[in-house]
């Protein structure tokens, strides 16, 4: 019997999400939720709610509904097909909630576009996001996860550094600055091909 499950434990959450994402494309089938989807969704909501509740008390979580957090993570994973930290997501949502009054609406809009396209990856549906506010928002979410910041300005809000996705694209060769790469004088990386994208 180990310690209670912590918010930062990806495996069960991620497996469930991937199952949801990989819905088979059924012709002529509207994206109504199957019973299985509903059950999975409920389980996810409960798990996510539990995880969000156990995240740090320094976050003003009262302002954000658990379901907004869940939908944000869902949308994020649709836009970015990589493992994303729910803790970082919670930080982003907490800040966003003030900036975007219709945040739940925007999340749902993008999620439904993805579902309508039976999207397995972002390339399946991104072009169908209408230009303007919604597309800008989608690009901004991608920027936030990749850079860990709200913008490239010097006064940007910082949500993440180590876990910013930009570093994960090159984690086989370069370190996240300020973190050690190897034992003393034991760095001997060769010029690895650009094509060898790490998995993350």
């Amino acid at each position: 019997m180990g310690p209670p499950k912590r918010a930062n434990e990806p495996p069960p959450f991620r497996r469930v999400m991937k199952a949801m994402d990989r819905q088979p494309k059924e012709p002529n089938h509207l994206p109504t939720m199957s019973r299985r989807d509903a059950l999975v969704g409920a389980v996810v909501a409960v798990l996510a709610g539990g995880m969000v509740a156990s995240t740090h008390t320094s976050l003003a979580l009262a302002a954000v509904e658990p379901s907004t957090q869940v939908r944000f993570m869902r949308m994020s994973r649709l836009l970015i097909n990589h493992q994303l930290s729910p803790d970082v997501g919670a930080r982003i949502v907490e800040t966003m909630a003030g900036e975007y009054p219709d945040l739940p609406g925007m999340l749902d809009a993008i999620i439904s576009i993805a579902e309508r396209n039976h999207a397995a990856v972002v390339e399946d549906f991104f072009a169908d996001i209408p230009d303007g506010e919604l597309k800008d928002f989608a690009h901004w979410v991608i920027l936030v996860w990749y850079s860990g910041c709200s913008s490239e300005k010097a006064n940007a809000t910082v949500f993440a550094y180590e876990e910013a996705l930009t570093f994960k694209t090159t984690s086989d060769v370069v370190t996240v600055p300020s973190y050690g790469l190897s034992g003393p004088n034991r760095w001997s990386q060769i010029a690895v091909p650009v094509a060898n994208m790490p998995t993350f």
């Binding site: 097909n81 694209t169 370069v174 010029a191 994208m197």
Partner: protein
Amino acid sequence: MASETGAEVVIVGTGVIGAVIAEQLLDEGHSVLMIEAGPRVSRAEIVENFRNVPLGAKGDTSASYPPRPWAPHPVADDKPEDQYLQLTGPDSYAQTFVRYAGGSTWHWAGTCWRLTPDDMRLRSLYGVGRDWPFDYDTLEPFYVRTEHKLGICGPSDPAMQWPARRSAPYPMEALPFSPGEQRFTEVVKTLGYNNIPVAQARNSGIPYDGRPSCCANNNCVPVCPIGAKYDAATSLARLERKGANILVDSVVYKVETNARNKIEAIHYYDQHKQAHRVTGKLFVLACNGLENPKLLLMSADDRNPNGVANSSDQVGRNMMDHPQLTLTVTTREPFWSGVGPVVNSGIIETSQGAFRSEYAGAYFRYNNFGRSRFVTFAALKKGLIGKALDEEIRRMTACTADIVAAHEILPDPNNRLTLSDKKDWLGLPKPAIHYDVGDYVRKSSEVYSLPIGKRIAEAMGAIDLKISPKFSQSKHIMGGTIMGEDPGSSVVDVDCRAHDHENLFIPGGGAMPSTACGNSTITMTALAIKAADAIARQMRGV
């Protein structure tokens, strides 16, 4: 106004110069008081400061070192009206020094190129600039002591040393190259250039001086998280154990002379703006090449109307640095910068030659900073998503590199620091610096350094090349309290003792009569050790 006795030796500043001199004098049994304008901070705090800086601003070193109101230092972000340095002239003398205990070695890259014999004889050899008042062989033993004091690693193969004329090996072997540097070395060899390891104050392979070995955090600038890079902050606790008294948050504003025009006392403000006065037998100004002349000018009195130590009118003049241009190269094949320390190798032979009678030598360093923070937003701005975004970021991280051409500069009395009429938080005058890199440097960029740089970029297989439109400074402050034998045209003598005041020493970058192209800290520190020897002799009455 509080008055207290200081110590036998009062040192203003706790950077590398002050720390090295303090330790030598403490070891000889003298009492030492060190006065630091800024705060004592923990390494943990600076490391976390850096990690908390937004990705787009991580290149701004001042972002990790917020200054205290009483000890302002330049902040890139500052609004024009809040700027500390009042800069004029066609070229910017922007700097990033740190007024914290430990000084600017907190964020230096650790690069330690020695001068060559020719670098010290520009006037005799090329008819330009100034000669040093002594030769390389006189300075050489002090270089050796510096290399052992700071823990400088370098190649044992004479073919890779700069210069090979040395009386002792480096205490540690050179660090391994990154893939980018290995490739760069091969590429420039085809042009006939040698990319050699930079000697650096970084522990290589073994712990040294009770500090761990480099593990390639690639964060030397702005802070080494583990103290593998020498910075003066690592020595402060040891100095205190040896009996040094270190006052922090204490801003020296006046050097007081007595009737015999010897230095009598130092005045400083504490953080509550209370004035204090400390006396001593001998005084060392070691608060960097900009704050030193500023302090001397602020200390003008009836005996020294142009400023203390300024009968030559050279205090604040001849402000020098290493004007640099950056070539950002995008290559087809991956080079991969970012493995190992941030500056690890360079082509320095291009700093030497007969052409120096007409234009400046230049040194090409391979900037080994990890590229992620340089390329991420550009990739995002292209509107890419999904796999294409990942691939673009990875490609640009692997296939972009900065080659920096750093030039030497000649001393020009019009490149000058004066006291502006703007005041800082304590009411002290903010420094004004007028700066023009001069035709000597501009001509070099036109006919020498940039043509070489472009050939290098081409040899690297560049598919894109961007060159900085203007010179920026390398943040190596030199010249403002220049050394010479003639008190009419120099501020300090061969031991960095002020010509005008026999118990005042001003060692550091400000004393250097020529800059050459390599970073100045090792030469500054060699001068500090030479000064410490002279101080010790003087204290012994020899």
